[in-house]
Symmetry: C2
Subunit: 358 residues, 2 copies
């Protein structure tokens, strides 16, 4: 039962369920499996020694934005930091979406695009990818024209499928549609194609980036938004003044001053991804989808039984409920040892004929 104070339109909002349990092997949140190296932790401790805890953070996150701008190859005047990309999605919705305006999202895609659209009073409208989770760009453009949204937002590579849309296709979308286009490049480092070089060529392009994936810093909640001056100034007028705390700013600076770490780590993750894919291919009944991210989506008729078996072994992957994702599991690429632990259970499951659930 809701209180009489709850907004009526939120009655249908699906809350984002977080699994807070502890697991022996956790491969469900697309986190990096790499722990920070000691020299970086020591640099962070030095930051703590000199931190002014009693003072508010820099409202503009200037130093960390400058470093991220350098890393991304854009000007510092085109960038703003957020408390994770989550906050930046919410700031975009609050800045641009009027009550009842439509936001096109893909299905499947990161569920928070719809979540924050609904909270902001907008209407998410889903466009489905095909059976291979690919997007036919001409179909997408035609549908967007029909729907006439204020914004299209999509992740590229796609979460949870790992599929990508080609650069020239995205440019076609940006040029043809009459609305904002937001490309969430959270998994950029595992794909290495970007549209940040195009932000000043269009009045309607916004790019999101994050330190939560390849940079291995999910704990500090640090995301970046990159766009043209006009949109950025409007977004900044809506952004909460002291949104990114001083410590996340300064730890972000440490990582970005050592940006080679991000490249090295994403190399290691991609290497493990390719090994994991090779091993998973050995199981004929598993369908693997193409991936350019730090996870692999698989489809398997006995996914529910396999998932049950994995949980018995204290291994957590992401399983999905319905629609085209029925019987799909998204497996984050883990360390060599974590992946071996996973593969061992899958192998054992197949050897026993996957009978657990029959």
């Amino acid at each position: 039962m809701s209180s009489r104070y709850l907004r009526k339109e939120l009655g249908t909002l699906k809350p984002y369920i977080v699994d807070r349990a502890k697991y022996r092997i956790r491969l469900d949140a697309n986190e990096s499996f790499l722990r920070l190296e000691d020299y970086l932790i020591n640099e962070m401790k030095d930051q703590i020694s000199s931190a002014l805890f009693n003072r508010y953070p820099d409202a503009d996150s200037e130093a960390v934005c400058s470093l991220y701008a350098k890393y991304a190859g854009v000007s510092p005047e085109n960038i703003m930091a957020g408390n994770g990309s989550d906050e930046l999605i919410q700031v975009m919705v609050n800045t641009f979406i009027e009550k009842g305006e439509k936001v096109v999202v893909l299905s499947p895609d990161f569920s928070m695009y719809s979540f924050y659209t609904e909270i902001g009073g907008g209407i998410p409208v889903e466009i489905e990818s095909d059976e291979e989770f690919d997007i036919d760009i001409d179909y997408l453009i035609k549908e967007v024209a029909k729907i006439s949204p204020k914004m299209v937002i999509l992740s590229n590579p796609n979460n949870p499928t790992g599929a990508v849309i080609k650069r020239e296709d995205l440019i076609k979308l940006i040029e043809s549609c009459n609305c904002l286009v937001v490309i969430d490049e959270a998994y950029f480092e595992f794909f290495r194609e970007t549209l940040v070089d195009k932000i000043s060529s269009y009045d309607n392009l916004i790019i999101l980036r994050t330190c939560s994936k390849a940079a291995g810093m999910a704990a500090i909640r640090l995301g970046f938004l990159i766009t043209n001056h006009q949109l950025l100034s409007e977004l900044k007028s809506v952004k909460p003044p002291f949104n990114v705390n001083s410590i996340s700013q300064s730890f972000g600076e440490v990582i970005l001053k050592n940006e080679n770490v991000i490249k090295l780590n994403s190399d290691k993750i991609v290497e493990q991804r390719e090994i994991l894919i090779q091993e998973l291919r050995k199981f004929n009944d598993l369908k693997l989808f193409k991936t350019k991210a730090n996870f692999v989506l698989i489809k398997f008729e006995k996914a529910e039984a396999l998932n049950k078996r994995l949980l018995e072994e204290d291994i957590k992957v992401r399983s999905f409920g319905g629609g085209k994702l029925t019987n799909c599991m998204r497996i984050t690429v883990g360390s060599e040892i974590e992946n071996a632990g996973l593969l061992e259970v899958i192998k054992d499951f197949f050897q026993k004929g996957g009978k657990e659930n029959e």
Copy 2:
């Protein structure tokens, strides 16, 4: 010029202006003048050594909420953490305020209540306090009944005036009005009257607290919301899942495990406040308002000239533009040395007859 994408209704939004300049003496942001002691900094460094940077934070901020609950004398099931009170204000607006619904705010009060109300599509309606910045509770109740808002939100002690509303008056408001009542107790520790013991007695009471003032931790952006189970579950369904980063959670835990520090620090700040008030009283032309916070509001005909003089001496206080706050300055209580530096300039200003601006 706005882009064609900006929400039309935001054309009137007044951005929150942050002064990012450095000053020799900074008394404009109601920060604590006390730096963290070394043993606390060392405990924080230990936290950094064991932090899992590659993992997302605890979505429920459970450990730090439990500690804050103990500190505040409430149950852990009545509390949620936010990225500063700012985020919690925004979550409340997003959860409860439909487009066009009214939110009553006091004038003067913390400007972010109106800011986030407008961003959320609500309409802030101001009720003015009297010439001494006091609120006649019967007048307030009558006006609220006329306006028929979804929510009343106010800070107690009031920022920027330092004035307080008595406990029994607030209870009268909560019991008589037909809407949510949010009491922002950001400055609680300098006043030591609270309504947290009443959260389960009413279906419409929400309390905000922060670590940015007496706890001296503005840098980590950690605020708390305390309310009944029903409202809390609705607020949690709208809260961004991983809103408080792991480091702010763990540094908050360090402070709250040493909660005697908060009491000791607020004692020191109140002591300096009383000395500052005594000294300021010596200047006959300055009107001082009663304060129960860590700042003092003064009114002075030559406020503009005095402010100019202070800035020349690299001292920053908060000055105000219009309405009843014309010629008012809000001075955060600083350290003994900072306050002496301020008083010296004021004394000199008066000795020269305040002629700078004439």
